[in-house]
């Protein structure tokens, strides 16, 4: 009985761990991809408070468009989906998700983000 409870607790712990690990890595990667490939869920025009679905360019009437909020939502949706899927993995595969990707992936993306901003480094 005790070992069955222990086993269940360990599995819950493993699921929490995997959810957090996959969330960190997938959120970072999907945020970068959303930025690089113009994939915000919505574009926001702060001058007129207008919101349009997907990526849309700045206009004379509405002023500059902002994509940061849209990228956040895109990456949040992807990360939540992938993290939830990670909790459904069978124990054998779930144990194989390395803990270190939670911090190595975001750190590895830092120079890429610097590169994506190359327009400003002139």
């Amino acid at each position: 009985m005790t070992s069955a409870v222990d086993g269940k607790e360990m599995l819950t712990e493993l699921r929490k761990r995997n959810f957090s690990v996959v969330f960190s890595a997938s959120f970072s990667i999907s945020y970068l991809l959303a930025d690089m490939y113009k994939l915000p869920v919505f574009s926001f025009y702060p001058a007129t408070s207008k919101i349009t679905l997907g990526w849309s360019a700045s206009t004379m009437d509405d002023g500059p468009a902002m994509y940061w909020y849209g990228w956040l939502l895109s990456s949040l949706l992807v990360a939540l989906t992938l993290s939830w899927l990670a909790t459904l993995l069978p124990e054998k595969f779930a144990r194989k998700i390395p803990l270190s990707i939670a911090w190595t992936v975001p750190i590895a993306l830092v120079p890429i983000f610097l590169y994506t901003l190359k327009f400003y480094w002139r």
Partner: protein
Amino acid sequence: MSWLFDLVPASIFWTILLIFHGLVSVALLGALSHQSMAIMRPTHSTPKEQNFFESFRSVQASKYAKSICIFWVISFILGGWIYAEYRINVRIPIEQQELYKTLGAFEFKEHLVVLGLAMLPIYLFSWSRHQNLLYASLRKYTTLFLTVVCWYAFLIGHIVNNVRGYAS
């Protein structure tokens, strides 16, 4: 927002919000700095023997984790709110002055704080199991990353504020 600006003039409202954002960031900066120092160089001396640097890092680091997450999220929301105002009334004048590196440094900060936000669940997970040695490096690297990002964001935010100034 127009109903709000009927009560408080827009420039005063944004100034209050920016100061509040700054204060939350100071609290976050302090908490993360204490926690990082505690994890990098734990001290074992008694309080009587400690100098300034030893007492700075002799905190119970695990106690800071939840507050750090809350401060990060509050600061992120406030920063995100101010960001829209920045896009119109701060960024455009800085573009006109051709201060591109300043703008780039600020945009980079926006990316870094998102990476920090993504790391919060695993950071909290590792600190809520602070006695588990299996998560020791995870605790160390996530804490250090958040600390570096927080310092960078704080300094760049301050620089951009100095370039343009609030309510200007």
